[in-house]
């Protein structure tokens, strides 16, 4: 199918973009890489009167290394993160994550800001940015705003962004040089969204652990983080304790996972933690 007729504008200032959104009274939608929005328009699951293309806004496609943190414009593509075309504050976590998003055609056009703003619970950047302690920045009718990535998502497809706000960039603090990370996700088909995902970061001054691909916001795992801080190595026998900590964290967050999903999340988490200690996770389909 093709989308219903729709107006398209590509403003050259953020203020103009916000103005265009405001004057449309909710009938306009921000277009970045279009890798989710355009298929939804084509399937006519979504319908808008106007698309406001933000890829021409100053600074949205640039990146800057500010020493203790890196700022990425919202329209930086997965491909540029994957290939190192933008500075990496994450000791390789972000390029690795980017390289496993969908497939190459999506990575070529899809953007980190678009992915965050859509807030599909299974998207990679939601959990990754939360785990890295990033901050999301936007500009709206009331001026600029920002919040920690961890607090950005309120529910599936629902974020702190107001109807007329434009996500402009992400500030990502630089990981400690000694920080070690691991990440693992399960996808049923090549290029599909994940249905279970975990990230673990061990670093001096505070470990971080998150589950992604839940039915809502990424779930932070404080008990797991405490456990990670005390681990000196990974042994398969630690998995049971890790699973218990994860279960306690999920319950404490007021969330629940179905039985298979809980086990798959637990396996992802164990593999992510093991990976942070240098153990390559098992991968299927490698030529024997």
């Amino acid at each position: 199918m093709k989308p219903a007729p729709i107006a398209y504008v590509r403003p050259d200032t953020v203020e103009r973009a916000v103005g265009l959104l405001s004057e449309s009274g909710g009938e306009a939608k921000v277009l970045a890489g279009g890798q989710s929005l355009v298929p939804m328009l084509n399937l006519r699951i979504a319908a808008f009167e106007r698309l406001v293309d933000v890829t021409g806004l100053p600074g949205l496609r640039s990146a800057s290394d500010e020493g203790s943190e890196v700022r990425l414009g919202a329209c930086v593509t997965h491909e540029r993160i994957q290939t190192g075309d933008v500075p990496d504050p994450s000791n390789g976590l972000m390029p690795s994550t980017a390289s496993r998003i969908a497939y190459q055609a999506v990575r070529n056009r899809g953007t980190i800001g678009g992915s965050l703003a859509l807030a599909d619970p299974a998207a990679d950047w939601l959990a990754t940015m939360a785990a890295l302690g990033a901050a999301i920045e936007w500009v709206g009718p009331d001026g600029p705003g920002s919040c920690p990535a961890e607090a950005f998502v309120e529910a599936a497809y629902t974020t702190r962004l107001g109807l007329y706000d434009v996500l402009t960039g992400i500030r990502i603090p630089r990981l400690h040089p000694d920080a070690r990370w691991g990440t693992y996700k399960l996808c049923r088909k090549t290029g599909e969204f994940a249905h279970a995902m975990a990230i673990a970061i061990r670093q001096p001054g505070g470990c971080r652990a998150f589950l992604g691909a839940t039915e809502g916001a990424p779930i932070r795992l404080p008990a797991v983080e405490d456990m990670l801080a005390g681990l000196r190595g990974w042994d398969a026998s630690d998995a049971a304790r890790l699973g218990e900590a994860m279960a306690a964290d999920v319950a404490a967050a007021g969330r629940s996972l179905s039985d298979v999903h809980a086990w798959q999340s637990r396996t992802c988490l164990a593999r992510a933690v093991a990976m942070s200690f240098g153990a390559a996770p098992p991968r299927l389909g490698r030529a024997a």
């Binding site: 090549t190 290029g191 179905s258 039985d259 396996t267 098992p282 299927l284 024997a288």
Partner: protein
């Protein structure tokens, strides 16, 4: 096969239509616009089973640009008995007082602009009195919920006549076969095994969704339609209208895939009615999503029981196969019978009993889909074979080989098997899998395994093909056939056959596409039948033309064997470049319909479709995720008339069945389809093709086929699913009985096997 070199047969001649297709010039019905044409958009039922209290079309009718809104009452003015179908006349052109599945067409908006028509559809509302509904085929066998009050078999199939007027049942057809004495066989057997397996509902997903255009005027009708069976469409439309066939013209250009979906009669009845009502040409083109409500593949529950002796000889087998036909029979009763009679598998078993049932439910209708039921039955009997071999501690290949039907032996119907290379196909798969070499089974979390399966299918019978070879005065040739080129390469193969007889180049032959005013009858492009049936008709028609050339030469007084070019013959006969030589032939293979009581037949099928598959898998035991690292499909296609086309038929069918095995399933909640779009219903992409993907044919010959050939379109759908299911068992020791084979099911089964079952959903 020692065969003298031919420039046509056995050559991978490029598709005749390749250039047209890659340059975007090929003709499809979706491109067609007729002057004054209206577009129809369909308002569909939102409930699975209900009486319609009222349909309010006033707001839709009032929308500017809407030509007319049509319901069954309007259609009845043009067609007094608006019920159609190939096996049963049970399907109303639009819902008639009742709806029987969620998604059933209830009304149509006509407008010159399809977008306006679509918008108006959103303005229609219907009030329903909901009725209890039944969705599961086994429940429907004995349910009080009746999908139809009375059975209405069509006259097309004489063996369904006895069902006319039957009430109080959802069973549309029951087929039975009895050979020997299974009860005595079980009593005498050393072991008895019984298992139940299920297949899910899936859809064809042709790249070109259903589309038909009707142009009715002055007591004549022209249909331009994406149909696999133009001759059947003409017959059924003529019946609906009470017109002679010669007033109905059905034209089919290329099809963008059919896979059994675009068979018999689908949108054609609706567009015909709409064009008659509106007195304008009308086009209805479904969206990809609407296709889920047109026709699908039967879900199936199959209970199979075998008596086996210690040495591995199967002495008795009973099969109870229940087919979920959905709300309208379509060709389901034929699936029930055709896949029913082979449901004991390609094995030589003395005592066999088969009961196969077509059952109505409140789901979208089910019909033919690449394999015509054979993949569902093979899923059961080939998993069952592995479970038996496992229990007996026998090698899976050796156990099959021991019981395999050999040529010259009677199949369950009594038909003597001929030209079925079952053992060759099985052996070739085993060879490609290095079956006799040990497999690296992995350790720790990743486990490897391999599986094998073999199956067969009977071919729809009796069916007829007619061909016309027309030699023009300049010596060039037109081939007039109603076989539909839907991507399988039939134009090329038919041209090769004609060219071989006429000693021409295939590429020089013009294949005239189906147009019932021009091309002769063909039963349909379906069930792997075209190469064998139409191929034979084409060969005979070309031979008829040759005979007429020889007669012409004799008439002109030329010596026997004179090699005068055809244009010169015409010039001598007519004094100028003029005239035609027309060769014609029809072909219907030998067939004996099964005995109503015993299911026996001495000639149950024109030939046997044979496919064997093997798979190697890796399973992540902590997640249930798996990868198929190697997939082998081997088919018996007789002589490969065009090896490249055979190759792509085998791989294409394999990829399709791979989707039906791993991811595809129509999922329902309260009778509502919840994943009816390609955003949610996942089909394989190039990235899902196993890294080692081998598709081959065995060296064989179908002796009564054209130049030794037979059908190739379905063979690799048959055994693929059980090969993968068996490989998963081999890898991790859990047996999945229900398709599709999802990681969640494997993980659940692994937890169960480890004594730590999950709580359940």
């Amino acid at each position: 096969m020692a065969r003298t070199a031919s420039r046509n047969i056995g050559q991978s001649i490029p598709r005749l239509e390749a250039r047209e297709k890659v340059t975007g010039r090929a003709e499809y019905v979706h491109h067609l616009r007729l002057p004054g044409m209206l577009y129809g958009k369909i308002f569909r039922s939102t409930v699975p089973h209900a009486r319609i209290k009222s349909v309010d079309v006033s707001a839709a009718q009032a929308l500017e640009g809407v030509y007319r809104v049509v319901t069954i009452d309007d259609i009845r003015e043009a067609i007094p008995h608006p019920y159609y179908g190939p096996a049963f006349h049970d399907q109303p052109i639009l819902a008639d007082g009742k709806v029987r599945f969620a998604g059933e067409p209830v009304a149509v908006v006509l407008a010159a602009d399809p977008h306006i028509a679509q918008e108006a559809v959103g303005l229609i509302s219907a009030e329903y009195e909901e009725l209890p509904a039944v969705f599961d085929e086994v429940e429907a066998m004995s349910s009080d919920v009746l999908v139809h009050d009375v059975l209405k078999p069509a006259a097309t199939f004489p063996d369904l006549k006895h069902l006319a007027g039957r009430t109080g049942t959802n069973v549309a057809l029951d087929y039975h076969l009895l050979r020997g004495d299974p009860e005595a066989g079980f009593a005498a057997a050393d072991h008895v095994f019984e298992h139940t397996y299920r297949s899910q509902q899936v859809m064809h997903i042709p790249m070109e969704p259903f589309v038909s255009v009707a142009d009715a005027a002055d007591g004549r009708l022209t249909l331009h339609t994406a149909s696999q069976s133009p001759s059947f469409v003409r017959i059924e439309i003529a019946r609906l209208l009470g017109w002679p066939e010669n007033r109905v013209r059905v034209k089919v250009p290329y099809l963008g895939g059919g896979f059994g979906g675009k068979l018999y009669i689908k949108l054609e009845a609706l567009v015909t009615a709409l064009s008659l009502v509106a007195r304008r040409p009308v086009k209805v083109a479904l969206t990809m999503e609407e296709q889920f409500f047109m026709v699908t593949r039967h879900p199936c529950t199959f209970t199979i029981k075998s008596g086996v002796n210690k040495d591995g000889t199967i002495v008795a087998r009973t099969c109870k196969v229940v087919w979920n036909g959905g709300a309208y029979a379509d060709i389901g009763p034929r699936v029930t019978q055709k896949a029913g009679f082979t449901s004991a598998g390609p094995y030589d078993i003395e005592n066999v009993e088969i009961h196969s049932y077509a059952v109505y439910t409140n789901r979208p209708p089910c019909g033919a889909l690449r394999g015509f039921g054979a993949p569902q039955t093979a899923w059961a009997y080939e998993c069952h074979m592995d479970e038996i071999a496992e229990a007996l501690g026998m090698d899976k290949v050796a156990f099959r080989r021991k019981n395999l039907l050999q040529n010259g032996r009677p199949q369950a119907t009594g038909t003597i098997v001929q030209d079925a290379a079952l053992e060759q196909a099985l052996d070739q798969v085993a060879d490609r899998l290095n079956w006799n070499e040990p497999l690296d089974r992995g350790d720790g979390r990743i486990r490897r395994g391999r599986g094998i399966a073999v199956g067969f299918k009977g071919i729809t019978a009796p069916t007829t093909s007619v061909a016309i070879v027309n030699l023009y005065a300049d010596g060039s040739c037109g081939l007039y056939i109603s076989t539909v080129e839907m991507g399988q390469g039939s134009d090329t193969v038919m041209a090769q056959i004609a060219a071989e007889v006429l000693d021409m180049d295939a590429a020089a032959i013009k294949v005239v596409h189906p147009d019932t005013d021009v091309t002769p009858y063909d039963m349909g492009t379906l069930g792997s039948r075209s190469t064998f049936h139409m191929g034979t008709a084409v060969r005979l028609a070309a031979e008829d033309a040759r005979k007429k050339i020889a007669e012409l030469a004799r008439e002109l007084g030329l010596p026997e064997g004179s090699n005068l070019p055809l244009p010169e013959l015409f010039r001598r006969k007519y004094g100028m470049q003029a005239g035609n030589i027309i060769g014609t032939a029809s072909f219907i293979p030998k067939y004996e319909k099964p005995d109503a009581e015993t299911g026996h037949s001495r000639n149950a099928t024109p030939f046997w479709g044979v496919g064997a598959s093997g798979a190697e898998v890796e399973v992540d035991t902590e997640t249930g995720h798996y990868r198929i690292t190697k997939l082998v499909n081997v088919a018996d296609v007789g002589t490969a008339l065009n090896p490249k086309l055979v190759q792509v038929q085998l791989s294409g069918a394999g990829i399709m069945q791979l989707g039906f095995t791993t991811t595809e399933e129509m999922v329902y909640r309260d009778g509502q389809l919840t994943n009816g779009s390609l955003a949610d219903y996942k089909i394989p992409t190039l990235l899902d093709i196993p890294p080692e993907f081998i598709n081959e044919h065995v060296d064989s010959e179908q002796k009564d086929g054209p130049f030794g050939g037979k059908g190739a379109g379905e063979s690799t759908t048959i055994a693929l699913s059980p090969a993968i299911g068996n490989a998963l068992f081999d890898a991790v020791g859990v047996r999945l009985t229900d398709l599709p084979l999802t990681p969640e099911k494997i993980f659940r089964a692994l937890c169960e096997a480890n004594g730590t079952p999950l709580a359940g959903e």
